[in-house]
Symmetry: C2
């Protein structure tokens, strides 16, 4: 289940990663049910760990979700994170930057949304869009892309050194799976609200996006802020893998029972 | 279940409201189990309505939670809102204002945190603290309190006229119940992190707080932004009442199936 970690400074070819993979789980109804049960268990654990994170209030978790259109970023949030206490979990969706945001460096608006101590922050798309869509459409030079990779690494290092654990997921679907999902949105009137003509436009650049993702992950996967490639053709396996990594990330913090405030003698306190 | 709505411009005496009330539910294990089952059902409905609110993206819901220390504001968020997709739900906890915030009017920081279209916003404490704690400790004049009541009403009217439905809850516990809950925090080492010496200090002003709450609710309960007094000595009844009101508020929006984006001929669209 843990084979999809992108090693720092490695060459990366997404062709070697099967978006259809389901690990030890069979691609049958019973395999799916088993994976779902395992996911439920992990989500229970996640909720407990999140309570502890919140109560301690000295660490934070940042989850970055990236992937092609329809790869399941919204689905992950809905299915993996819906059991979590919303008081300790903030989702940030980065849209087209505003005029004010464009008047600042590309990390300005992102830094403002970094999770506070005690919180889980989920970036549904992120600062990585600024080395993807811009690159695919030739809006920034290769030199600038490299510069941004370095800036991103240093920014994430700052967060990490300040107590934030970072996990980054690339939801890996095949081009055929995207076709199926877009057709579903088109043919099912209940799902049409999610459809955007831009999705068809961007799909024409599939190959360039894959290259941009490969370069991006190879350059920005670090020990403190690793990229994980998540086989995402099957939603149930995708959810399992992510729940598993998120639990791991929280466990790595070794969160203790939260401390009582200092300087109070609890044995002599009386409530009138 | 709906008798606890504060009528606009009415005189209000909290002594007439029983914090121990459980409505049609018996104060027994079986009454509690029945109420919990009813709450679960409402939470399921709430999740569905929230999905629709998010997909439509043209209305918002603002939930304001106020009440004495230990009255259960955090508990409501945990138990009523944990099933909700965190992508469409933002909790804001208002703490002591920062120096920058104090350099602005008291609604400045609050306005920034108003829920966006498609979102449920939950204020855990709110702008109402600025007519409560300040008043109880004589930090603002009666004239200023009155002025703030008017300013709050106009602010909430603006939000309401812009598509936000507002529901405000006062979690009503008795002084004896607070004593029990504070003692629990003191005696249970696992709960001590929630304890603050300020809680004991503020408890000394119980009577003044009750008066401040009464005046505040009488002055600021409007048709668009009503106050509800929630009997909160029993957590299971408190959760039920709030889930019920939140579902009502979402239903009042009469949210339709979200519309497909305009100008697209879905019948001729082809995905290559």
């Amino acid at each position: 289940m843990k084979n999809y970690h992108v090693k720092p400074d490695s060459k990366l070819s997404l062709a070697h990663f099967d978006p259809d993979d389901t690990g030890d789980y069979k691609k049958t109804e019973s395999g799916k049910e088993k994976a779902k049960a395992a996911t439920e268990k992990l989500i229970g654990k996640l909720s407990e760990l999140q309570e502890r994170l919140y109560a301690n209030g000295n660490r934070a978790l940042l989850i970055v979700l990236q992937g092609m259109d329809t790869s399941g970023k919204d689905g992950v949030i809905k299915h993996v994170m819906s059991g979590v206490n919303p008081q300790g979990c903030k989702v940030v969706t980065f849209k087209t930057p505003s005029v004010e945001e464009l008047d600042h460096d590309f990390l300005w608006r992102v830094h403002q949304k970094a999770p506070a101590k005690g919180q889980i922050g989920i970036f549904n798309r992120s600062h990585y869009e600024d080395v993807l869509i811009t690159r695919v459409h030739g809006r920034i030079s290769d030199k600038m892309v490299k510069q941004r990779f370095d800036q991103i690494k240093e920014f994430e290092e700052l967060l990490s050194e300040s107590g934030t654990v970072i996990v980054k997921f690339f939801l890996h679907i095949s081009k055929g799976e995207q076709k199926k999902r877009l057709e579903e949105r088109i043919n099912n009137p209940e799902k049409r609200w999610k459809f955007s003509e831009g999705d068809i436009e961007e799909r024409k650049f599939w190959g360039s996006y894959i290259e941009a993702f490969e370069a991006m992950m190879a350059a920005t996967s670090t020990d403190q802020a690793p990229w994980h490639i998540v086989p995402a053709n099957r939603k149930w396996y995708r959810n399992l893998i992510i729940a598993d990594h998120v639990v791991d990330a929280l466990e790595s913090m070794k969160l203790k029972t939260p401390q009582a405030p200092a300087g109070i003698n609890f044995n002599t306190l009386k409530i009138e």
